[in-house]
């Protein structure tokens, strides 16, 4: 494992030592530097110097081939960000998104890390999000779930899946490690079966096949069925990650807790889980990142997540040439989210000293 505290200081001496040690070394360095600069310059040119900015300049863009057409984003960004959400009500979607982000950022602050504060924060945040999006109370016009779209839908699915999936995964992991063989084996079977199914087929089953099987009162909106299906899928993977974290603990830890006379819940809650999470932090962050990116699969069952609304934004005769700009824009949004998620993970690792024990 690399030592996080080790830092390369960039001085003339180290540069010379690392990159210009021999003539061949120097040649390769120069060559690569020139190549990189050339690529970056081309990119910079495309994205900034030759780009077309401003609202509604699709005719200019069509004949202009060298640069990016950011006019697409300027004109159609509301479709990308909010999908089919009613135009006049889109401020609600934006506000809901901001609320969710604030909650996510707050829950990263150590002050909120307690068994009471964190759930309260999330319940309040989630309720605000839901009321803003769904409406129907406080004078807000109702907007049904199938009209939700864009970034707020992606954020909603991601947050809901993680919130449902996390507790579920702990339950799964504990059942999987149960001392009663039948429970442990059944859970192992369930986890393995679900893990062997593609996420897409699980989503399709929950969204489309389930209404044929369930009684009418239990069907609910397609969105929630998909979230439940996705959460179960997430929980199965996350349960194995947590189990890995648990198994890395020396057996003596639990035995010592037993010897002290601690009950099962105390042992799990105070001794096993905190250490298991600490061990499992890097793969857990990884799992979050994967989950965020895979939310775009919901487009297959007809949701306007950010990628689908991006395609809808570029899917008109006026803008059909702007697919690259659309993917760059959506890609940047994904990048911002995933990158901050992984930087936060790195911060947590540093704080909990996961790297060095």
């Amino acid at each position: 494992m690399t030592d996080l505290s080790m830092q390369h200081t960039l001085s003339f001496k180290t540069v010379k030592k690392h990159y210009f040690a021999t003539p061949l070394n120097s040649a390769i360095t120069v060559l690569l530097a020139v190549f990189t600069a050339w690529v970056l310059w081309g990119l910079f040119n495309w994205a900034f110097l030759d780009a077309i900015w401003g609202y509604g300049k699709n005719e200019e863009c069509r004949t202009h081939e060298d640069g990016a057409c950011w006019s697409f984003v300027a004109t159609r960004w509301r479709i990308v960000l909010f999908g089919l959400y009613p135009f006049e009500e889109q401020w609600r979607s934006a506000l809901a998104c901001i609320v969710m982000l604030v909650v996510a950022i707050l829950s990263c602050v150590p002050v909120f890390w307690s068994a009471k504060r964190l759930p309260t924060l999330w319940v309040i945040g989630f309720a605000t999000f839901y009321i803003l999006m769904r409406g129907g109370v406080l004078g807000l016009t109702p907007v049904v779930e199938r009209d939700w779209g864009g970034l707020s839908l992606t954020v909603f699915i991601f947050a809901a899946v993680c919130l449902l999936g996390m507790p579920l995964s702990i339950i799964f992991a504990l059942l999987r490690r149960s001392e009663m063989p039948w429970i442990a084996r059944t859970m192992a079977l369930v986890i393995d079966v679900i893990r062997s199914l593609p996420l897409l087929s699980i989503m399709f089953t929950f969204a489309i096949v389930l209404p044929f099987v369930l009684p009418d009162w239990a069907i609910g909106d397609k969105l929630y069925r998909v979230i439940i299906g996705y959460a179960i899928f997430f929980a199965c993977y996350q349960a194995e990650i947590i189990r890995g974290g648990m198994q890395a603990l020396p057996a003596g830890q639990e035995e010592a807790a037993k010897a002290l006379g601690m009950g099962y819940w105390n042992r799990v809650g105070y001794v096993v889980l905190p250490q298991a999470f600490r061990n499992a932090l890097p793969p857990t962050i990884n799992q979050f990142v994967i989950t965020f990116k895979e939310t775009s699969l919901v487009t297959i069952i007809g949701f306007f997540d950010i990628l689908a609304s991006g395609r809808a934004a570029a899917g008109t005769a006026d803008w059909s040439f702007a697919t690259i700009e659309m993917y760059v824009f959506v890609g940047l949004i994904f990048f911002v989210f995933v990158f901050s998620l992984s930087r936060y993970g790195a911060y947590l690792e540093h704080r909990l000293n996961v790297g060095s024990r």
């Binding site: 509301r78 297959i300 899917g315 005769a317 059909s320």
Partner: protein, 347 residues
């Protein structure tokens, strides 16, 4: 029209009107479900399908399929405003969603194939659009038909039914042209635009959509009238619901009937105030019967035309000359203009 004929047809209409009875709509019909719910759940798209279902700057749906959804909702409820929900669904999802009741009807450029019709338990309305495979050629070649491309090169996608159909077409029409095939769609189109081939064969709406982005401008390319192969696109409802299917068929027929009679969204009020014939009077709900037989209000066709116009208006607005795609109507015209469509008889 002769005065005696007017009297005769009015008399006929009166007799017919006296015989009008309200249609018996089957208890479990989707028509009843929709009317009770007060809104129609129609198929949209997960993203966009150029010309048929796309999203404007305000996030509103538009396109040929969307207009048909609007027409249907207007026919059922008087106006589509507040009575129509466009449910975004993917291609793969359309049949299960229809069966499970997520949507009431699939209007999503879906071809009428035998397996869908039989094995999937779907019922097709009569086609409303012929998805023809046609050839696009550069205008400066001066070609008017495939025969003019003799001696040239034609690009098609490799290993598709299009390739086979094109080969057969060239054979049967004794056109001596070389065929160049490409595995990849982008490669195919780029080769055409770079001038490697004189003609490009694809599904006509795709040709029209691609032409908009042509590097030398859409006007430099023309879609030839020859139909190499075709796919008939219909409206789909679950099998075993004849009442609901009737509504679809008569909706389409009404749109063509209006076109035939020159009734548009603009002049529909004038025509209704002063119907040129008893049939038109019946059609627009002046005389009773046209709606009641289907279990609908008698002015349902009027409401439809008022909101979306006749079929020509729908076509031209979305993929025809009133749109950037500018796809000639060709085979999709009424029979008297060289197409294959016709209204059914209103009696």
């Amino acid at each position: 029209m002769k005065f005696s004929r007017v009297i005769a047809s009015s008399a006929m209409a009166l007799i017919a009107a006296s015989q009008v009875a309200h249609a018996q709509v089957a208890e479990g019909s989707r028509l009843n479900t929709v009317l009770e719910r007060g809104s129609l759940l129609c198929s949209g798209h997960n993203g966009s399908f150029l010309g048929f279902a796309e999203v404007d700057d305000q996030g509103n749906w538009r396109g040929v399929d969307i207009d048909l959804c609007k027409a249907l909702a207007a026919g059922l409820f008087g106006t589509s405003e507040g009575n129509l929900e466009i449910v975004p669904i993917s291609w793969a999802q359309r049949w299960p969603s229809l069966q499970s009741g997520d949507i009431d009807v699939v209007i999503k450029v879906s071809g009428w194939t035998q397996s869908r019709d039989t094995e999937l338990n779907l019922a097709y309305s009569r086609p409303y659009f012929i998805g023809a495979f046609q050839t696009m050629a550069r205008v400066d070649l001066g070609a008017n038909s495939m025969a003019d491309l003799a001696g040239g090169t034609i690009c098609v996608a490799a290993g598709t039914s299009t390739e086979r159909a094109t080969a057969t077409y060239l054979d049967t029409h004794k056109i001596d042209a070389e065929m160049l095939t490409f595995e990849n769609g982008d490669e195919l189109r780029n080769s055409y635009y770079e001038g490697r081939c004189d003609g490009l064969v694809e599904w006509a709406p795709s040709l029209a959509a691609g032409r908009v982005d042509a590097p030398d401008g859409a006007d430099a390319h023309a879609i030839l009238s020859d139909v190499i192969a075709l796919e008939a696109e219909g409206i789909i409802v679950p099998e075993g619901d004849p009442d609901w299917l009737d509504v679809q068929n008569w909706m389409l027929s009404s749109l063509w009937f209006a076109e035939m009679e020159g009734i548009t969204s603009e002049n529909v009020d004038e025509v209704r105030a002063n119907p040129p014939s008893a049939t038109v009077g019946t059609f627009l709900g002046v005389n009773p019967g046209y709606g009641a037989r289907l279990g609908l209000p008698d002015d349902w066709a009027y409401n439809m035309i008022k909101e979306v116009g006749n079929f020509a208006e729908i076509y031209e607005r979305n993929i025809g000359s009133g749109s950037p795609y500018n796809l000639p109507r060709g085979i999709n015209n009424l029979y008297n203009a060289g197409g294959v469509f016709y209204p059914m008889i209103i009696d």
